[in-house]
Each structure stands twice: as C-alpha cells, then as structure tokens.
C-alpha cells in the first residue's frame, strides 16, 4: 500500500471532496501529455512530501491538506513545476509543463 496507486483522472471510490483536498492534473511537454514523469509534491518550505509517476495520459494525483504546495515534475523531456494554493477541501487541477 505504500507504492503509488495507478494515477487516473478518476478519483478513487470513497473520496469525499467536501472533506479532502485533492490535487490533480497533467504533466505536459509542448502541451502533449507526458507519461512516466516523476511528479513530486513539495510543501511550502520546499520539503518533499510525496511522489507519483504520471499515468499513460500524463495524470497525477495527490491528497493534501490546506497550504501552499509545489508540484514538480521530472522527466526525460525535462523538468517543470507549478505552485498550488489549497485553501480548503475540493479538487485542485493544475497542468505542469516540463521543458529541458
């Protein structure tokens, strides 16, 4: 249970968006999805929190608490990151563009 579950655009059964904050989105390069990217969730101090591998469609997903997060992607096509501000429960969708 500690490895990354398959990343899909759909949320797992039982996810309650009235209680949980879920960060989702695609890793892209020139606008096209990048699969197999290593997507890292860093907290407000830049400290590592979690990592998943983007799905065939480039999707990633994290469960997080309110706060400021950085979603950083590493891939063979380069790296990229985006900041996400989570104010409360809900779905937060953000694209991460990578470039070398």
């Amino acid at each position: 249970m500690c490895s990354a579950p398959e990343q899909t655009a759909e949320l797992p059964a039982g996810t309650d968006l009235s209680k949980e904050s879920v960060l989702v989105g695609k890793v892209t390069s020139g606008g096209s999805p990048v699969s197999g990217a290593y997507v890292r969730l860093l907290d407000g101090t830049g400290e590592f929190t979690a990592e998943v591998v983007s799905s065939a469609s480039g999707d990633y997903r994290f469960f997080a608490r309110p706060g400021t997060w950085t979603v950083r992607a590493l891939s063979r096509s380069g790296n990229g990151q985006t900041e996400v501000s989570v104010g409360g429960p809900g779905l937060f969708t953000n694209q991460v563009e990578v470039a070398s």
């Binding site: 249970m1 500690c2 490895s3 990354a4 579950p5 398959e6 797992p12 039982g14 996810t15 949980e20 197999g36 290593y38 890292r40 969730l41 907290d43 400290e47 590592f48 929190t49 979690a50 990592e51 998943v52 591998v53 997903r61 994290f62 469960f63 997080a64 608490r65 590493l74 891939s75 063979r76």
Partner: protein
Amino acid sequence: MSRQDVLVSADWAEENLDAANTVFVEVDEDTTAYEGGHIPGAVKLDWKTELQDPVRRDFVDKAGFEQLLSSKGISNDDTVILYGGNNNWFAAYAYWYFKLYGHQAVKLLDGGRKKWELDGRKLDTEVPQREKTQYSAQEQDTSIRAFRDEVVNAIGTKNLVDVRSPDEFSGKLLAPAHLPQEQAQRGGHIPSALNVPWSKAANEDGTFKSDDELRALYSEQGLDSSRPTIAYCRIGERSSHTWFALHELLGEQDVKNYDGSWTEYGSLIGVPIETGSGS
C-alpha cells in the same frame, strides 16, 4: 563498510549487466512496472506477495525464503543488485530483508528505477529464464529487526527515528499524501521519536546524499550516535531506506528497522502516543 560495498552506480550497473554471479532484481509492489520494462536481465520480486506471509502478518519463513530465491535462480554466491521504484523504498526493504536472512553480497542500485529512466537507459520486457538453484538461508539476524516490546522499551532511551512525512508524524495524516487515508490506527508518533523524513536522505533523482551530508543531517536532527537506533515508518519500507543510510552508508553500529511500524504501533492498546510536531 564503505559506500562501494553497498551501492552501485547506474554507470556501473550498465557495464555489468552480464557480469558473472551477478543478479539484478527489481522489487516493487506494483509489478506492472517490471512488466512494462525493466533493466535487461533483471528478475522481479513482489514485496507483498512473495516476501510477506500470505496469512500471518510477518515475513515468509527461512524455508520460504530459500524456496523463493531458489525459484528465482539466485545462488548463495551470487551478488544481488536490488533496485526499484519509489526511490528504492522497496529495494531498500528487500536489501534489509536479504541481510536479515544472511545474504551478505547484496547491493542497491543508487537512484533505482527513477534515475535509470530519467537517464534514458535501456529497459527490456524480456523475462530472463534462470535455472533453479538450491538456495540456503541463515536464521533471521534479529540484530537488525526491532519488535514492538523493544520499541516501547526504547522510548526515551534509544534513538527512535520516525522517517515519515511531518504530517504523518504530527498525526494530521495516516498515510503519505499520494495515498487514500486509512483509518485503522490512531495518528501521531512514538514519544521521544525524532522526525527525520526518509526523503532528506535522498536527492531529487533518487540517489542517496553523500556521507558528509547524511552525517550532518542526522546530527543536526539530534541523533545520538552513542545510543542504539530504531527506525520506523508506516509499514517498514521507508524506514529500510533510512536503516540503509544509517547502518550501511554511515556505519552506525546498532540500528534496527521496526517493520511493524506505525500500522502496528498506532493500533496497539495502551501504548503512549504523542501528537504534534514534537520537541
């Protein structure tokens, strides 16, 4: 023990894929990673279905481990090079597990699958056929495995290193942020534990930090090298990563991994739990 005795680089691995008496083993929970492409010649180990007893919450026993390695075509005199996803969590766990059953010639591929993939090195889908061996294991070396009573007795006396994320340590989360949150246990940490997330020991590409960086990290976090140390996480794989850093890379003498970890401790009746960010 030096770094070269326990870690190999991706460059070394690439040059030694066909070396005699050397077996590459990928360890993941998600074995589809292996099937989608693995280091050429590598065999796979499933940490859950092959290393865990299917009924009791424990490891496969000595005979089971012998049978497993025999069936994978691994001999007692083979050097086993372990690697995997999740920044080598499960590979480090398997490393510790191989040591537990007395296999000394085992090394980790620094950076694991991640660095290999990010470097654009070759992956292969062909599953190697290795001839069955007659593997013989030792009795478990419990000098590197901690059980719950020892952990309770270690409160305030030994170094307890909780390697989970700060939110798991404080009790805000029960699992890493990329996983659904299970509710079987209470949240928090073992009183007196230091919180040194496993990730602080690793670089972004999954390789281990240098010995000097690691030494500075644990000393800054208050680890007392004159005392024995027990590392734990949620289920014992991330703490294997830290056990590796402390025991194998830094050469700390008395370091144990508590594989029961938070899923056991946080479910025990009557034991003390501390919440919040600690002292």
